[in-house]
């Protein structure tokens, strides 16, 4: 049935492969997409902490390339194009600002562009995390870590729902356009409360409805059962996962050290 479903959805061959593997009970992992959710969360944490603590422009570039490699090995190269384009546009914009060399403008805008540059690799890796983690695997993995059920279930729903929120916001905007409700920036400034009400109330009503439906669906599938949860696919940290995590952490640590080296270098240069 799963094979039929996946072919119907005409999804990419990768996803189909995964489904067939699941059906046959083979735990073959498909590139970086299928590493253990715990490993994924761990490396995301290490990576964003590193970028938060450091990041010269060169470091940002290297970490962007690093994340790009992860995307490549997860079969998501197409999805990374948007991020890389954004990065390139900001770099060009930054360059133009520096060419204009108006003091006040440079100070203000370069800080903004820098922050955006710095956040692109972080957001990209978080996107990878949120879009590749499968909710049932996350639940099993967290249960193995003996985290309280309240946190596990809410966190799993939260992960699943984050992309939906932005989707729903888009639907609401479309509906407002259809009904000729002004959505311009001016109106948002002039009538902040009205705008908030128009956007927020439908969003919340939709969300509450979805959460009720989700709860019904989950209860039907016996999520509140006392028995231990099973998973068709084995959830475990395999040797390649550990290898990948260690390599990634080593590279992150190296980048951190590398970043400090450049700082010292440039500081001595200014002293001279």
């Amino acid at each position: 049935m799963q094979v039929e479903m996946s072919s119907k959805a005409s999804s990419v061959s990768l996803a189909r492969q995964t489904n067939i593997n699941q059906l046959l009970g083979i735990d073959k992992k498909n590139g970086l997409r299928d590493i253990d959710p715990r490993v994924k969360m761990f490396i995301t944490l290490a990576f964003s902490t590193m970028l938060f603590c450091t990041a010269k422009e060169l470091t940002i570039l290297i970490s962007l390339l690093m994340v790009f490699v992860i995307f490549l090995f997860s079969g998501m190269a197409k999805k990374s194009i948007k991020f890389i384009l954004a990065y390139m546009i900001i770099v060009v914009f930054n360059y133009v600002i520096h060419l204009m060399s108006i003091e006040a403008l440079t100070v203000l805008l370069s800080a903004i562009t820098y922050t955006m540059l710095k956040f692109i690799p972080m957001v990209m890796l978080s996107y990878w995390l949120f879009s590749t983690v499968k909710v049932n695997e996350l639940i099993v993995a967290l249960e193995q870590m003996k985290i309280p059920k309240s946190i596990i279930l809410s966190l799993a729903v939260l992960f699943r729902f984050l992309p939906t929120v932005t989707e729903e916001l888009g639907y609401i905007r479309d509906t407002m356009k259809m009904r000729n409700i002004d959505l311009s920036f001016n109106r948002a400034i002039l009538h902040p409360i009205k705008t908030t009400e128009y956007m927020l109330i439908p969003l919340l009503l939709r969300s509450v409805k979805i959460s009720d439906e989700l709860a019904a669906a989950a209860l039907t599938r016996g999520i509140d059962g006392e028995n231990k949860r099973t998973s068709l696919r084995k959830v475990y940290i395999s040797f390649p996962d550990i290898l990948f995590a260690v390599l990634f952490i080593l590279f992150t640590a190296f980048l951190y050290q590398f970043d400090r080296q450049i700082v010292e270098f440039s500081m001595t240069r200014t002293w001279l």
């Binding site: 100070v107 800080a111 279930l153 109330i201 969300s207 509450v208 209860l219």
Partner: protein
């Protein structure tokens, strides 16, 4: 299935918490990114974000209204913000704020006054989490930021704007924003959610 006392959270409540906290966090991030473009408006980002977020917070507290609502929400928000930004101060500030808030609403989970106070505490936690490192570790923050490639005059502008007394002012403004948000939330609760049958009107 065993019938549990309604004071304990059920699966339905966990799912509601997950969904509404997702909405809360996404809107918080969107609003702070938009407001935080300039340093001067950036210090008021938590205060401004608090106004629309108040609606979500009040709905969440009234809809679930059980022990642990606030603490679980705090943990969820802290996890997402930490994964996105890697800032430890956020985690500490939000979790301690929600612990304090949990004590404040203890036993009276539908009391709107107490919910308002706990919301003020939470938003102050957000403000502290964002700005405390700048105020209390000014020098190390300054050198770190300049070393990280931020423009020196921008960093100086930030440290000049923000200092001890100003932080108190920022906290006061954030608290005011949270109060406004709670008032808006209560209004919306009566106007829409009770009418739509999302929550019971008692």
């Amino acid at each position: 299935m065993n019938i549990q006392s309604s004071s304990k959270m059920q699966v339905k409540d966990f799912i509601t918490l997950g969904v509404l906290n997702a909405v809360f966090t996404v809107l918080f991030i969107l609003l702070t990114v938009v407001v935080g473009i300039f340093p001067v408006t950036g210090i008021f980002a938590p205060a401004i974000a608090a106004i629309p977020l108040g609606v979500i917070f009040i709905l969440l507290m009234i809809k679930v209204a059980k022990k642990g609502t606030l603490l679980v929400s705090g943990v969820l928000q802290a996890v997402i913000l930490f994964l996105l930004s890697g800032s430890w101060t956020f985690v500490v500030a939000i979790i301690s704020a929600t612990l304090l808030g949990e004590l404040l609403v203890w036993g009276a989970y539908k009391d709107l006054h107490r919910i308002t106070i706990s919301y003020v505490v939470l938003i102050c936690g957000y403000a502290l989490g964002s700005f405390a490192p700048i105020v209390f570790f000014t020098e190390s923050w300054r050198t770190a930021s300049v070393a990280n490639g931020y423009n020196a005059s921008y960093v100086n502008a930030f440290t000049e704007i923000l200092n001890g007394p100003i932080l108190l002012g920022v906290l006061a403004v954030s608290a005011l924003g949270a109060l406004l948000g709670a008032v808006l939330g209560k209004k919306m609760l009566k106007k829409h959610f009770v009418k739509a049958g999302v929550i019971s009107g008692d």
